[in-house]
C-alpha cells in the first residue's frame, strides 16, 4: 500500500533534478521510441526470417530427423536407426559414380561458363551500338524454362537422328555416342547448362564492370596500357567481390544440377550404366523412385555438407587468386600501406 502511494511521488517531476535519475524514468512515448529504435529493424527484416523458418528451416530440420530413421512416408512413421542410412549411401558404388559425374559436369560447365561470361561482359562494356538490345539478348536463354532447353538440346544430341551427329556424319566424321560415353554425355549436359547461365552471369559481371571508375582506364591509357593490359590489371581485379559471388552461386547450382540430366533421356534415371547420374538425380531416384525417404534425406545432408565444403574451398582459392592478380594492379597501394605499418 505504502509503496504504491509513494511511487508516484518518487517518480514525480519534482524529484527529478534532485535524484538525477531522469534518463531511467521514461514516459510511454519515450519508451516507445526507444523500443522503436531497438526492435523495428528486426521487425522490418522479420518477414523473411519468419517465412524462412516455415518454408526453409523446418524442412531442413525435418530432413535431418528423417535421415536417422527408416521412414515410411505414407504411414508417416519411422524407427530410429542412427547413421545406417549415411553408411549405406557412402558404401554405394552409385553414389561415388554420381559424385564423379556431378563434379565432371560442374567443372565442364562452370569453368568455360565463367570465362565466356567475363569475355561477353567485357565486350558489352565497350561502346557499342544498341547496347540495351545486346544486353537483353544475352539474358534470353536464362528466361527459357530449363525443361524447354533440355528438350531442344536432347533433340540436338540424339544418337541417331540428332542435329550434331547428322552434321558430323555429313562431313564424314564418326557420330558421337552422346548417351553411351560418360564424357560426351557430360559435355552435352554441360552445354545445356552453359547455354542457360552464361548470359545471366555475364550481366552480373557487366554490372560490376560498369562500377569500375573510368579514371583508372583513362590513366592507364595515358600510361600507354593496351586493352588487354587494362583488362588484366584493372577490370579483373575490380571484379573480385562479384567474381566470388558468381563462382559460389555457380558452385551451388552446379552441384545441385538436376533438370538437364533428368531430361537428357526418356527415363530420366541417369543412364543404364549411370553415365550421367548426378547426386540430385540419385537423390530423386531414391526418394521418388523407391520412396525411401530416410536414405534420400541422408543423401540430401551429405550433399549439403559437400556443397558447404566446396563452397569454403572455393572462397579461399578465389580470394587468393584474385588478390594475386590484383597485386600488380589497383590493390597495390593497400599492400604498400600494410608494409609501412609493419
Amino acid at each position: 500500500m505504502t509503496s504504491t502511494a509513494t511511487r508516484p511521488a518518487a517518480s514525480g517531476p519534482a524529484h527529478r533534478p534532485a535524484t538525477e535519475r531522469q534518463p531511467r524514468v521514461l514516459s510511454f512515448s519515450q519508451k516507445l521510441s526507444r523500443w522503436d529504435l531497438k526492435v523495428s529493424p528486426y521487425l522490418y527484416i522479420s518477414p523473411f526470417f519468419i517465412l524462412f523458418a516455415i518454408t526453409g528451416l523446418f524442412p531442413i530440420v525435418y530432413t535431418a530427423v528423417i535421415s536417422f530413421q527408416e521412414w515410411d512416408l505414407i504411414r508417416n512413421s519411422g524407427t530410429f536407426i542412427g547413421f545406417d542410412q549415411y553408411i549405406w549411401i557412402l558404401s554405394q558404388a552409385d553414389f561415388w559414380t554420381a559424385l564423379r559425374n556431378t563434379f565432371s559436369i560442374f567443372l565442364l560447365s562452370s569453368v568455360p561458363q565463367l570465362i565466356l561470361a567475363i569475355f561477353i561482359a567485357a565486350m558489352l562494356d565497350r561502346n557499342i551500338r544498341a547496347k540495351t538490345f545486346w544486353r537483353m539478348s544475352v539474358l534470353l536463354p536464362y528466361v527459357m524454362a530449363p525443361v524447354a532447353v533440355a528438350l531442344i538440346f536432347s533433340n540436338m544430341f540424339g544418337d541417331n537422328h540428332g542435329l550434331v551427329n547428322n552434321f558430323l556424319t555429313s562431313i564424314g566424321l564418326n557420330p558421337i555416342a552422346w548417351h553411351k560415353d560418360p564424357f560426351w554425355s557430360h559435355i552435352a549436359i554441360a552445354t545445356m547448362v552453359n547455354f542457360r547461365w552464361t548470359g545471366y552471369n555475364a550481366l552480373i559481371l557487366l554490372a560490376a564492370m560498369q562500377a569500375v571508375p573510368r579514371d583508372y582506364y583513362e590513366a592507364a591509357t595515358v600510361d600507354g596500357a593496351g586493352p588487354f593490359r587494362q583488362f588484366w590489371s584493372i577490370t579483373l581485379p575490380s571484379l573480385k567481390p562479384t567474381l566470388i559471388f558468381v563462382i559460389i552461386t555457380a558452385t551451388i547450382g552446379g552441384l545441385q544440377i538436376f533438370d538437364e540430366p533428368r531430361m537428357f533421356d526418356t527415363f530420366g534415371r541417369g543412364g543404364a550404366a549411370n553415365q550421367w547420374l548426378t547426386i540430385t538425380l540419385y537423390l530423386y531416384n531414391i526418394g521418388w523412385g523407391e520412396f525411401n525417404f530416410g536414405r534420400a534425406a541422408a543423401l540430401a545432408w551429405i550433399l549439403f555438407i559437400i556443397i558447404l565444403a566446396i563452397g569454403l574451398i572455393n572462397l579461399l582459392v578465389t580470394r587468393r587468386l584474385v588478390r594475386d592478380e590484383g597485386g600488380r594492379g589497383v590493390v597495390r597501394p593497400r599492400r604498400r600501406r600494410k608494409g609501412a605499418q609493419q
Partner: protein, 413 residues
C-alpha cells in the same frame, strides 16, 4: 504470430473440408467427386456427363496428369494423409507398390466382383482377400509389322502368313528376325528391351516370390531370358529401349520392321508414322500370349465420399463403359463381358489396313496363361535388368560384366 495464424487457418480449412464432406451425404446436397487419371483413359466429358445426368446430385471433376510418373509421385505423397482425389487411377507397374497399403484403400463392392478377367482381379486382391482395384484396361500383346518391308525382304507379308510364321517360341521369332537381317542387313525388331519385357511378362515369379524370397539373380528363367535377349535380341534390334526421340522417329522411317504391340501401342505407332501405309497386325505372339500394361481405379479409404466414389468407379469400369472407352481411345477392356461385346468384336483399325483389332486382341487376351507376380520391388528389379541389357547393347559392358553389375545392384536394394 505468423506461425499461429498459419496453423489457425490450416485448422479452419481442415474443419471446413470435414464439415462439408459430412453434410454432402444429405438428401439434396450436391456431391462433388474428384477423379484423377493420367495419359488418356477415354473418360471424356460426354461419358462423365452421362453419369451426372443419371445422378443429378453428383458433380464430377476430372483431373488428368500428363504422365504416370506424376500420378505415382502424387499418389504416394498423399496416400495416408489428405488431398487425394475421391478416385485415383493407378498404373499396373506401380500397382504392386500401392497394394502394400491396400488397407488404406476402400474395398470393391461384392456386386462388381467377378467382372474382370481372372488374373486382373487376382492382382488387385490382397493377402486378406480384399479386392481394392477396379480394372480398367489390359494390354494383351500381338505383333505389329511393316508388310511392305517384310515383302521387300522376301518374307511372308499378309497378317495370316506372318502370324503363322511367328506362332512358336521366342527362338521362332528371332529366327524370322535373322532372316530379315540376312535379306536387308537391318534389324527387324524395334528395341531389345521390348523383347525383354515380353519374355519377363511370361514368367510367373520373375524377381521375387509372394513370401518375400528374392530370386531375381538366381532365377534360371531370368538368366535364360537375359542370355536369349543378349544373344539374339540385341543383334536384331534397332534400339536398346523404347520411348526415346530416336525411337519415336524410327517408326516412320523403316529402321525396323516389327514391334510387339499391346492395344495401346497402336495409337503410338499411328501417331508417329501417320504417312506410312505398311503397318499391319499379326494375330500371334511368341510363346503364346502376354500382357503389357493396363490400369486400375482405386478409392482412397479416407476420402470424403467413399460410398459415392465406389459407385462411380463401379460404373466407369462396368462393361458398357469399357466398350465406350475402347471406342474413345482404344483401351482394351478388362471386363469379360465387354470383350465379347459386338462393338468390340466388330471393330477395325483403319491405319492397320482395317485389321479386326477387337477380335485380335480378344484372342490375344485368351492366350494369356501366365501373369507375373509383381511385388512392390518389381519396378526396381525390372529396371535394373533392362539397364543391364542396355549396357550390353551400348557396348559399355560385356554380357557377363553387365550381369554381375545387375546382381550387385539387386543386392544393394
Amino acid at each position: 504470430m505468423a506461425i499461429a495464424a498459419f496453423s489457425a487457418s490450416a485448422i479452419v480449412l481442415a474443419g471446413c473440408a470435414g464439415g462439408s464432406g459430412d453434410e454432402a451425404g444429405g438428401e439434396d446436397g450436391e456431391i462433388t467427386l474428384t477423379l484423377a487419371t493420367f495419359n488418356d483413359f477415354g473418360y471424356d466429358d460426354e461419358l462423365l456427363q452421362e453419369y451426372m445426368d443419371e445422378n443429378p446430385n453428383i458433380k464430377i471433376v476430372h483431373n488428368k496428369a500428363a504422365i504416370t510418373d506424376d500420378a505415382r509421385a502424387n499418389f504416394f505423397s498423399k496416400l495416408g494423409k489428405e488431398g487425394l482425389a475421391d478416385i485415383e487411377a493407378v498404373e499396373v507397374d506401380w500397382f504392386a507398390e500401392a497394394m502394400q497399403y491396400s488397407d488404406l484403400l476402400a474395398e470393391v463392392p461384392d456386386s462388381a466382383k467377378g467382372r474382370w478377367v481372372e488374373w486382373k482381379e487376382a492382382a488387385a486382391t490382397d493377402a486378406d482377400g480384399r479386392l481394392v482395384g477396379f480394372g480398367t484396361d489390359i494390354g494383351p500383346q500381338a505383333v505389329c509389322y511393316r508388310a511392305d518391308l517384310f515383302a521387300a525382304a522376301g518374307l511372308p507379308s499378309t497378317p495370316d502368313e506372318v502370324a503363322a510364321t511367328i506362332d512358336g517360341d521366342w527362338d521362332t521369332f528371332f529366327d524370322l528376325a535373322d532372316k530379315y537381317k540376312a535379306a536387308t542387313g537391318k534389324p527387324m525388331i524395334d528395341a531389345a528391351n521390348s523383347t525383354t519385357q515380353g519374355i519377363v511378362n511370361q514368367i510367373e515369379f520373375p524377381y521375387d516370390e509372394p513370401d518375400g524370397t528374392v530370386v531375381a539373380t538366381t532365377n534360371p528363367e531370368i538368366r535364360a531370358a537375359y542370355d536369349l535377349v543378349v544373344e539374339r535380341g540385341i543383334p536384331n534390334s534397332a534400339y536398346s529401349g523404347q520411348w526415346s526421340d530416336d525411337w519415336n522417329a524410327s517408326m516412320a522411317n523403316g529402321e525396323f520392321a516389327a514391334m510387339l504391340c499391346p492395344p495401346w501401342m497402336l495409337g503410338i505407332i499411328s501417331g508417329n508414322a501417320p504417312d506410312v501405309s505398311g503397318w499391319e497386325i499379326a494375330n500371334a505372339f511368341p510363346n503364346g500370349g502376354g500382357n503389357w500394361g493396363g490400369s486400375y481405379l482405386t478409392v482412397p479409404g479416407n476420402g470424403k465420399n467413399v460410398d459415392e466414389a465406389l459407385k462411380l468407379a463401379d460404373w466407369l469400369t462396368a462393361p458398357e463403359q469399357q466398350e465406350k472407352t475402347f471406342v474413345n481411345v482404344g483401351a482394351f477392356p478388362s471386363a469379360v463381358d465387354a470383350q465379347s461385346a459386338s462393338s468390340i468384336v466388330d471393330s477395325t483399325n483403319e491405319f492397320f489396313n482395317n485389321a479386326p483389332t477387337g477380335q485380335i486382341f480378344a484372342e490375344r487376351s485368351d492366350a494369356i496363361e501366365v501373369t507375373p507376380f509383381k511385388s512392390a520391388n518389381y519396378f526396381k528389379y525390372n529396371t535394373a535388368l533392362q539397364d543391364a541389357i542396355t549396357r550390353v547393347f551400348d557396348g559399355v559392358e560385356d554380357a557377363e560384366t553387365s550381369w554381375n553389375t545387375f546382381v550387385a545392384e539387386v543386392e544393394a536394394f
